[in-house]
């Protein structure tokens, strides 16, 4: 029954509105229920700081846990930076909620929500330097945010006006890749190029728990290891690949996959933005220092549906979702900020206002997004042109003109 609960605290269009251009119509409409994340009970769930295999720096209650290995990567972090992480997560979540709403209103054909994965994305995204390069899946809205990609641009492909609406080289943020796993090879090749250039930047490839089964991902592990490429494989294990739990992909924790390819793997609490920041910084430094690839498994949870076409009530329990709600990444950092007096009410109010403004801007921008010209079909098929494309474009123009003529008569 429940999908895509979001933390957006302001009013949203009511649910159940079905887009006429939904990607997978068969999935049918699903109701919605307001998630009350900020009042979720604490402490439940299976992942705790006690899990020795899991790097955690902030407990779900917002308490800072010591970690001999990774503390140094966030040692100098300032209250301002902490507030920045909070702001990033809140704005990302707000943007995401807005996009979900826009899909319900028929403005988008589909939306893949990142709800619940804000810490994994903001933590890793903020670990990057400007000259690092990112290869995302279709769900890395938070990473895009960190890279300075205008969120509005992310919506083009979900609205159906383009298949990728930004210049990857403007923000060192590659286009979204829908085909599962493919981008891990692109990231590896890019990183091989970085190494050839003698540059000291790094590359990060995002992928999911489901993607870990794809041959391409395994091949990217092999290539990156053999060439010692400066790439970080950042796996957001959100427990689900559409309807399939992680047990359908592996019978041991995913971070262990790396060792057999000759590089380290580590599992980090994916709902702990500080831990994600620290571990990713560590992995990026390894890459920049010529120590080759690293696998980071961010253990998190897809709080919403797979996409707006999906109905998770068919395959998972509400209890599971509630357990993870208690580990909410935003709430966790807020508690930490409040306990440490790193932020006051004015700050939270300001972020809230910013959220509102962002939502409004996105909403308006999407509604104003024009449909592309028909002739865009023929554009950019080739960089240097192709005789057949020219011929078909001309035929299409003549065909379209024939209506005008007919009407003219």
């Amino acid at each position: 029954m429940t999908v895509e609960g979001t933390a957006a605290r302001t009013s949203r269009r009511s649910a159940g509105k079905k887009s006429g251009t939904s990607g997978t119509k068969a999935a049918g409409t699903t109701g919605t229920k307001r998630a009350t994340r900020t009042t979720a009970k604490k402490g439940s769930g299976t992942v705790t700081a006690a899990d020795p295999d899991l790097v955690q720096l902030l407990t779900p209650e917002g308490q800072r846990v010591k970690n001999a290995e990774y503390d140094r990567y966030v040692a100098g972090i300032t209250p301002e930076e902490l507030r920045g992480l909070y702001r990033d997560m809140v704005l990302t979540r707000r943007f995401d909620a807005e996009a979900t709403a826009l899909q319900r209103q028929g403005e988008l054909g589909l939306w893949a929500s990142l709800l619940g994965q804000e810490a994994a994305q903001i933590g890793s995204g903020r670990a990057l330097n400007d000259d690092d390069y990112v290869f995302p899946t279709y769900r890395e809205h938070g990473v895009a945010w960190c890279r300075g990609v205008d969120p509005v641009n992310l919506l083009g492909m979900f609205r159906g006006v383009n298949n990728g609406g930004w210049d990857p080289n403007s923000n060192n943020f590659h286009l979204y890749t829908i085909v599962i796993g493919s981008q891990t090879l692109h990231a590896t090749g890019y990183a091989m190029g970085v190494a050839k250039d003698g540059a000291d930047s790094a590359v990060i490839a995002y992928f999911g728990d489901g993607a870990s089964s794809q041959g391409d991902v395994a091949e990217s592990f092999t290539f990156s290891a053999v060439y010692n490429a400066p790439v970080v494989f950042f796996c957001q294990n959100n427990q689900w690949a559409i309807s399939e739990p992680t047990e359908r992909q592996t019978r041991v924790p995913l971070y262990q996959r790396a060792r057999g390819y000759g590089f380290p793997g580590v599992r980090v609490d994916g709902n702990d933005v500080l831990a994600c920041l620290a571990v990713t910084k560590w992995a990026l430094e390894r890459a920049r220092a010529g120590e080759g690839p690293t696998l980071v498994e961010a253990f998190t949870y897809r709080m919403g549906a797979h996409t707006t076409s999906d109905d998770p009530t068919r395959y998972r329990s509400e209890e599971e979702r509630l357990a993870w709600e208690a580990k909410d990444p935003i709430l966790r950092l807020r508690r930490h900020l409040e306990a440490g007096k790193h932020a006051d009410e004015a700050f939270f109010a300001e972020v809230e206002a910013e959220s509102e403004a962002l939502g409004k801007r996105v909403r308006e921008a999407v509604r104003a997004m024009p449909d592309p010209d028909h002739f865009a079909i023929f554009e950019n098929v080739y960089a240097d042109g192709h005789a057949l494309v020219d011929e078909e474009r001309a035929q299409f123009a003549a065909y379209q003109a024939s209506f005008a003529d007919a009407e003219g008569v």
């Binding site: 589909l110 829908i178 690949a241 992909q249 068919r314 023929f378």
Partner: protein
């Protein structure tokens, strides 16, 4: 009389259910085919009723799905594999064209691979990239595979029955935008041959040939043309490999004109093969060159452009007019 009205997707579901019931060797495999029942619900309820060992949620790896299906077939099973969307079949392409297609010949007939690969295909549902492609030509060129595509619920039901029973690998292309179209299905009928085309509307002036999602469009075209006094014959080809050239030839010998319609790009598409062979067979009967209406030589466009990209009533009527103008 056991006829029942049902949606095309439901017809496939019922056909799979029957196959699972009648032959314990039949298996269903794919991503999300189990508890979820597939993203289009084509396998809805099957895991519940036949269990996890017959309706199998697989890891997210298409080559692995087809490759293990081959192994299961070697062990005597009859796997029906789902590829979630057309654009995701390519990681499995090597296993399909190099292993699935060739193992029977390689073994000099000792090994049979009764594997069905189901692929929801085609556009028109406003989806994101990779969810609207029509890659049938990329399989038809490969010997050892049989390629079919139903256009209506009854065919969807019976062609699936026949595909599962076939000892050859069958790629079963499902016209996803017609999943919700309803039609009569008589589950006690005696179906005709799987690879035979069908004249679904008789006519005398021109032949329209299509399969899968474009058959419905061709019906509409024929109806519109009829209002202008043109008599179009419509063929539902049903099978892309083999193509039933005899039925096309017979029709073209009568009408003298042929327009082939498919969603896939025209360049190197099914229409090319049909045009080439029918021109050879009917050289003295053709009053006009065989014309083709299909996709452009461009990636499938974003959803807001697909109406312009896909063959529609006007595009096909335009081709009909051009053909008749010869």
């Amino acid at each position: 009389m056991a006829a029942e009205k049902m949606a095309l997707a439901k017809a496939i579901n019922e056909s799979l259910r029957r196959a699972l019931e009648e032959d314990p060797k039949v298996l269903i495999m794919g991503e999300d085919v189990g508890r979820l029942g597939g993203v289009f619900r084509v396998t809805d309820g099957l895991q519940k009723d036949f269990g996890e060992s017959r309706v199998i949620d697989t890891p997210l790896a298409e080559s692995g799905i087809v490759g293990t299906a081959i192994g299961l077939a070697l062990r005597g099973y009859r796997p029906v594999v789902e590829i979630q969307f057309d654009g995701f079949v390519f990681p499995a392409y090597d296993q399909i064209v190099t292993q699935l297609a060739k193992m029977h010949a390689r073994s000099l007939g000792k090994v049979k691979l009764p594997v069905v690969v189901r692929i929801p295909y085609g556009g028109g549902i406003g989806a994101v990239e990779h969810h609207s492609e029509s890659p049938e030509a990329l399989f038809a060129h490969v010997a050892g595979l049989k390629i079919v595509s139903p256009s209506n619920a009854s065919d969807a039901y019976w062609m699936m029955q026949q595909a599962v029973q076939s000892d050859d690998p069958v790629i079963y292309f499902e016209p996803k935008r017609r999943y919700w179209d309803k039609g009569e299905v008589d589950v006690e009928a005696i179906p005709g041959p799987l690879h035979k085309a069908r004249v679904v509307r008789e006519g005398t002036d021109l032949t329209l040939a299509a399969y899968g999602p474009m058959v419905k469009l061709c019906h509409e075209v024929a109806a519109a043309a009829a209002e202008e006094g043109k008599s179009l014959e419509v063929l539902d080809l049903r099978s892309v490999s083999p193509l039933d050239f005899d039925t096309i030839q017979a029709s073209v010998e009568k009408t003298g004109r042929l327009v082939v319609v498919h969603e896939a790009p025209v360049f190197f598409g099914s229409g090319a093969e049909i045009a080439a062979r029918i021109t050879e067979r009917c050289f003295y009967h053709l009053e006009a060159p065989v014309l083709r209406v299909g996709g452009f030589h461009a990636p499938y466009p974003p959803a807001r452009l697909e109406e312009a990209y896909l063959p529609d009533l006007d595009r096909v009527l335009d081709a009909v007019d051009r053909s008749l103008a010869y």
